[in-house]
């Protein structure tokens, strides 16, 4: 292997990915050897994620590239990989009871979740357009299938078809942008692209590449006007899949977006700042206003997740180290509150109730007080009320924007947060002040308790002690920011 330019280190630093691959294949194999053992498969999948996470944790502080410079093992990658593994683990935890209620096979479901996480890992590590694309495609295909996993449900089928068609279309646009960028710079490597762009005049071709890339990534993060697929897919997909889609997939796409634009196209920062500033404003506004009229929880959370993509985009627009830090912090914070909210919606799915309508939330406090209080916390955090983590995330994002002179952007963001409070608090009103909804008892198994506990602890901890997260993010953004300044200097 040495002769081909690979050493043991290349594979050592890929261990988290290799473990995920192995675990995913093991799930399929075990399912054949001992069929219908959902609990065993669940254990293997969760164990895979935990082991992968432990190995990942041992890489803290590493800053190197492996696989002949195609994959970066730096703080930025590790930060995002931790997000993916945690969100995948929480998704698995809320999936186990959900799959039993729905009565769908577990093996392929766990396999696809692990493979989606695998794709995300490569999206965070990739510093080469081809590698990034392969990672994105792996994640996307797993999600297309997961969205349609509830085969008897028409909504689920619709979600899969819509997601597949629009996803394939958006990937085409993204690829077009990538190939034009390759045409302009002559390389697919981000450092090479940054170097080539630093001394280059802006050409029409480059503008086309920039716009196509922004549009392609816009689809993936569900930014307006590329958000059309999100509400339908979020509503139709199995609820835990929706949770993973809205957190994991979004974080992975933001990782890829930051890599491509900040690391690769740092020389064009003023150009893409304009694009993303526009996207951020319409994304926040349309997302929040559309969310007000929703009566379905999953649709409402879909629009809310669109709005949150807008807030995170503000951090990207700020484009400084502080802006990147803000985006990173926001993604972590968003993980806990969004997954927590979806966990509560997942819990409401019982044998006799679909449970994803707003009215199913009625009287939740009387039936499951702990879940209702947790949901209250998630709603406050999503709305950005102190002392929750969501507040700190927003403060940091808006602060970064003001820092860079984008005061109007911060103002729009604050107005939007105020609008969003209306629909978040409406959920609270339903939970605490309405008559109990019909349906059987709400069971809260140990898996669900764990999910909610983790989400609650995350939401509170990072709300009152945000330094924990900021310090990490700051160290990480430096590794991405370093290449930005070096590209700008050349």
């Amino acid at each position: 292997m040495e002769a081909l330019g690979y050493s043991a280190a290349d594979f050592y630093y890929l261990l988290p990915e290799l473990i995920l691959t192995g675990g995913a294949l093991l799930v399929l194999l075990v399912n054949i050897i001992v069929p219908r053992r959902g609990d065993l498969l669940f254990g293997i999948s969760l164990g895979t994620l935990v082991v992968s996470g432990l190995v990942l944790a041992s890489f803290a502080g590493v800053d190197t590239t492996v696989s002949r410079g195609l994959l970066a093992i730096d703080g930025f990658a590790l930060f995002f990989k931790a997000i993916f593994l945690v969100s995948a683990a929480l998704t698995l935890l809320m999936s186990a009871p959900y799959l039993r209620v729905e009565g769908v096979p577990a093996a392929e479901y766990y396999f696809l979740i692990l493979c989606a996480a695998l794709g995300m890992m490569f999206m965070a590590s990739g510093v080469d357009l081809i590698t990034l694309f392969i990672g994105l495609e792996t994640m996307a295909i797993a999600f297309y299938v997961l969205a349609g996993y509830l085969k008897p449900s028409h909504k689920s089928n619709e979600a899969a078809v819509k997601y597949f068609l629009l996803g394939a279309f958006s990937l085409g646009i993204l690829l077009y942008g990538m190939s034009l960028l390759y045409g302009v710079t002559g390389t697919t490597r981000l450092d090479g692209i940054a170097e080539a762009l630093a001394g280059q005049d802006r050409s029409l071709l480059l503008a086309a590449a920039l716009i196509l890339l922004a549009a392609g990534m816009g689809f993936k993060i569900a930014a307006v006007p590329f958000h059309m697929w999100a509400p339908d897919v979020y509503e139709g997909a199995p609820t835990p899949v929706t949770a993973f889609l809205s957190v994991g997939s979004k974080a992975a796409s933001f990782a890829m977006l930051l890599r491509i634009f900040v690391e690769g196209m740092g020389a064009l920062t003023p150009d893409w700042q304009v694009i993303f500033a526009f996207l951020a404003v319409v994304t926040m506004t349309v997302g929040n206003i559309a969310a007000i009229t929703q009566s379905n929880m999953k649709r409402m959370l879909a629009y809310s997740s669109i709005a949150h993509a807008g807030y995170i985009l503000i951090g990207v627009v700020a484009a400084t180290e502080r802006g990147v830090v803000a985006a990173l912090v926001y993604l972590w914070v968003y993980l806990f509150m969004q997954l927590g909210a979806f966990a509560v919606v997942t819990m409401l799915r019982r044998h006799d109730v679909v449970g994803d309508e707003l009215k199913d939330m009625s009287g939740l406090f009387a039936r499951a007080p702990a879940a209702a209080v947790a949901m209250l916390l998630f709603m406050l955090s999503l709305g950005g009320i102190p002392p929750t983590a969501g507040f700190m995330g927003k403060v940091w994002v808006f602060g970064a924007a003001i820092d860079q002179g984008f005061i109007w952007l911060a103002v729009v963001g604050v107005i939007n947060s105020a609008i969003s409070l209306y629909y978040y608090l409406r959920v609270v009103v339903f939970m605490f002040f309405k008559e109990e909804a019909a349906g059987s008892e709400i069971a809260m198994g140990p898996a669900m308790v764990t999910t909610l506990t983790v989400a609650v602890v995350g939401t509170i901890l990072f709300g009152i002690y945000p330094q924990l997260l900021f310090e990490q993010a700051q160290a990480v953004a430096g590794s991405l920011g370093a290449s930005v300044t070096s590209a700008a200097l050349q």
């Binding site: 696809l112 081809i130 590698t131 295909i141 299938v145």
Partner: protein
């Protein structure tokens, strides 16, 4: 010359792409798609990516389109396209095909007389000349790049295909 060929091919490819989505009959649509794929293959040849061109013909024009045709024939579409046996139409099509063959022959004669012999394999300078350098064939080069430089993405692509395969089974099979 190169630019002319490119723009000609690009126009034809775009035109055929539009025909694919506007064709009334699904079978015609698929056939236009075959033509489209073949022209894209020619585009690859002009970029001296012969291997990709051959794969394009084998996999896309050959394999995938045959599958499409099967699906189109198995799925009962509302109304089968009417069979027209218009002799003038047939004659026109025949003329068109004959003209295409003639043009092809002329092109070959013109090209060989202009260049003397077959064009030498163009050396793409950006590939790392790891083995025999410029003498390496297109396929060999591609193999080297794929299995050395892009080894890891290549392996990830195999996982991607596995995911797609399992996914197709999950969605298509009634009871797992």
């Amino acid at each position: 010359m190169e630019a002319f060929v490119f723009y000609l091919l690009a126009t034809l490819i775009l035109g055929l792409g539009i025909m694919v989505i506007t064709a009334r009959s699904a079978v015609h649509s698929v056939l236009f798609l075959v033509l489209n794929f073949l022209l894209v293959a020619i585009l690859y040849v002009t970029l001296s990516a012969q291997f990709v061109a051959v794969i394009q013909v084998l996999v896309y024009a050959g394999g995938i389109v045959v599958l499409y045709l099967f699906v189109v024939m198995l799925v009962s579409l509302k109304k089968a396209p009417e069979l027209r046996s218009d002799s003038r139409r047939v004659a026109r099509t025949g003329l068109l095909l004959a003209g295409a063959v003639l043009a092809e022959l002329i092109a070959i004669v013109w090209y060989t007389s202009a260049n003397g012999s077959a064009p030498p394999a163009q050396a793409a300078s950006d590939f790392p000349p790891r083995l025999a350098g410029d003498a390496m064939l297109n396929t060999e080069r591609l193999g080297w790049v794929l299995y050395t430089e892009y080894l890891i993405p290549f392996e990830v692509a195999s996982m991607l295909l596995l995911v797609a395969m399992i996914g197709a089974i999950v969605l298509a099979k009634k009871n797992l």
